[in-house]
């Protein structure tokens, strides 16, 4: 009965505090600026007559979506999946196999990709999420490898050699994806939607539980959260989002093969996230853009560019903590 309800709930400094919710910080402004510029890229590139760069940007954005989806579980959820390329493959084959049977309807492709990515994520998640740490990394990797070999063994769909996709997904009455600019905007809008989705997810109660479970699972369980199930749901959402990116990748490359699911590609997605900065909404996009830029640039210099690339990746871990997001935040202001 000693005085416990004392503090009058009026005074303190809401404005210094409120910024974690309301105001847009300096670094976010930079990121939003980049997003807006990306929206103006196609007319600009056609103006300077450099259509090749549109291809490059398309690839950056597609892998940006994939990296963003991986960051949902890896950055926010602490689940280090080494098998996310599986969903790129699933999405791409959801374009390729129907196209093989001359089904070109894009809605069918998307629906298939969503359903099948979701099922694969759900089934593999049920088992992998029971494990932790090294086991989780390895088991996600192994599941993807399983899918890889499955597609290698499917002779009907080209096996190891893959499939050529004759026509891109069709969205009758909406737009013509054979036009590269249309495809670009299609990807761009999906990217915007994905960014918004992930932003809302992590601010919503669901995301708070996911973040809380990353930092202190024991406590989250003792608060009454079944962390396993929340993670599973998060894992499925992430898989589906990456599956959608896969649909674009299939359309973009017009050629699909099991190689898309190779585990080194899963590793590359992780790298994109780390380059951009784990725990940041825009980091994965920036990371994928830089990753592809360096890939393109270095491979033009020497055939042995992978060596330089490998050294860069090692150096990034040893010396470059926080990624580009750390740099931008340092330059343009806090983002908490």
């Amino acid at each position: 009965m000693t005085g416990s309800q004392t503090n009058p709930p009026q005074e303190p400094d809401r404005d210094t505090q409120g910024k974690s919710w309301g105001k847009v910080s300096g670094s976010t402004t930079v990121y939003l600026g980049i997003i807006v510029l990306l929206g103006f890229a196609p007319p600009f590139l056609s103006l300077i007559n450099e259509p090749f760069y549109l291809d490059l940007l398309s690839r950056m954005l597609i892998l940006g979506i994939a990296a963003l989806s991986l960051n949902l579980i890896l950055g926010y959820g602490g689940m280090i999946s080494m098998g996310h390329a599986a969903y790129l493959g699933i999405g791409a084959y959801c374009v390729g196999i129907p196209a093989y049977y001359e089904i070109y309807n894009g809605f069918v492709h998307l629906a298939l990709a969503i359903v099948l990515s979701g099922i694969f994520a759900f089934l593999s998640g049920i088992i992998s999420l029971r494990t932790k740490g090294v086991y989780f990394i390895m088991i996600t990797l192994a599941f993807t490898q399983m899918l890889y070999f499955t597609f290698v063994s499917l002779e009907e769909y080209g096996g190891d050699d893959g499939l050529v996709i004759e026509l891109r997904s069709e969205f009758p009455g909406l737009f013509d994806t054979e036009n590269n600019t249309n495809l670009y905007y299609c990807i761009y809008l999906t990217l915007l939607g994905s960014l918004l989705l992930v932003h809302r997810l992590i601010q919503a109660p669901f995301g708070r539980v996911i973040i809380g479970s990353k930092h202190n699972e024991e406590r989250m369980r003792s608060l009454g959260y079944n962390t396993y199930r929340y993670r599973l749901v998060c894992y499925v959402i992430s898989g589906i989002l990456c599956g959608i990116a896969g649909v674009f990748l299939g359309n973009f490359t017009s050629f699909i093969s099991p190689e898309m699911m190779d585990w080194t590609h899963s590793g590359e997605l992780i790298f994109m996230i780390v380059i951009g900065g784990v725990n940041s909404l825009f980091g994965p996009l920036i990371g994928s853009m830089l990753f592809i830029f360096f890939e393109e640039w270095l491979s033009g210099i020497t055939v042995y560019w992978h060596f330089i690339f490998g050294l860069m990746l090692i150096a990034l871990v040893l010396f470059g903590k926080g990624g580009i997001n750390g740099l931008i935040t340092a330059l343009f202001g806090e983002r908490r």
């Binding site: 890896l74 280090i80 080494m82 088992i127 029971r130 494990t131 740490g133 090294v134 086991y135 990394i137 390895m138 088991i139 990797l141 192994a142 599941f143 490898q145 399983m146 070999f149 499955t150 290698v152 063994s153 499917l154 002779e155 009907e156 585990w263 080194t264 590793g267 992780i270 790298f271 780390v274 784990v278 042995y304 560019w305 992978h306 060596f307 690339f309 490998g310 050294l311 860069m312 990746l313 090692i314 990034l316 871990v317 040893l318």
Partner: protein
């Protein structure tokens, strides 16, 4: 049932299992003791094969090739530990994944640079190049060489881990890292030895397989994943688990590939069976892993640890 074929396939499975064991034993020790994920462990496999191919071709002696290459891979392993891995033990697993992935790129490119994109073969001495006739069965002599060499290394590792002072430290390290540190052991040196031995075993596996398949760039990147599966199935840190896990997976993979279609034909039309079997047999190892983990999330022989 063709018993001769079954025996041949079992020997093939045994061979694959022992190669996997050579890779997995090092991985599981490095996992278990240093808590370090080395995705580039397969690079040692590749380097071993290339060293051995070069030296054998240079000297004309396979034995000399193997011995010198083993020392070479030991040194490469120790260097990787001292220059890179050591800095990362305290970091989280994500960093391990990233750095060792970068290392794979470096190793693959370096091998490409020094040895070219073409593969390299290792000629076998005539004594090993023959065949053994056992009744109706004809088996290449070299297959027995691989199996015997694999078993010898496994036996040697067993003695090392169970009968020597170093082995005691290794076992203690796999189940309780803090304790080893508390004992006042030179932990850095222990780590380096374990890492180098692991690398050498992987390199040895590469040397054994190269006369059959040839040494090629990136040859370790596929088999290493199955070695990871072995480690997980066996239980991280357990050499015994790696051994049984490797044999189990080697046999299941080999037998699955040759018998699954016959097996499926018992329950479905032949044409379906022939379509489904390759896909299913490719998945079998992973299905097995999933099944084991579903019931034993820490593998078959998890080292006794107290959390």
């Amino acid at each position: 049932m063709n018993w001769d074929l079954l025996i041949i396939q079992c020997l093939n499975g045994l061979q694959l299992g022992l190669l996997l064991f050579l890779l997995a034993a090092g991985l599981t020790l490095i996992f278990g003791i240093m808590d370090f994920i080395n995705l580039s462990h397969g690079s040692f496999y590749m380097i071993g094969a290339y060293f051995c191919a070069s030296i054998t071709n240079l000297t004309g002696s396979l034995i000399l090739g193997v011995v010198i290459s083993l020392i070479g891979v030991l040194i490469v392993g120790a260097l990787v530990e001292a220059l890179l891995a050591r800095r990362l033990y305290r970091n989280d697993h994500l960093d391990h994944v990233l750095v060792t992935l970068g290392l794979i790129l470096c190793f693959d490119t370096a091998v490409h640079f020094f040895w070219g994109a073409e593969g390299m073969t290792i000629p076998l001495p005539p004594a090993l190049d023959g065949q053994v006739n056992m009744g109706d069965i004809v088996i290449p002599t070299y297959r027995f060489v691989i199996i015997i060499a694999g078993l010898l290394v496994a036996g040697g590792l067993y003695l090392l881990v169970n009968k020597t002072h170093l082995g005691m430290l290794i076992r203690a390290g796999a189940s309780n890292r803090v304790m080893v540190t508390a004992l006042g052991i030179n932990i850095d040196r222990l780590y380096m030895i374990v890492f180098a031995i692991g690398a050498a075993m992987a390199g040895f596996a590469g040397m054994l397989i190269a006369p059959i398949t040839e040494a090629s760039v990136g040859m370790g990147n596929e088999i290493i994943i199955i070695a990871f599966v072995v480690v997980i199935v066996g239980g991280i840190g357990s050499v015994k688990g790696a051994f049984y896990g490797a044999l189990l997976i080697g046999l299941i993979d080999t037998l699955g590939r040759s018998y699954l279609d016959d097996f499926l034909k018992l329950s479905m039309p032949a044409n379906y069976a022939e379509t489904a079997a390759p896909a299913l047999s490719a998945m079998m190892v992973y299905i097995l892993m999933a099944a084991i983990l579903a019931f034993r999330p820490r593998g078959l022989f998890p080292p006794a640890t107290k959390s």
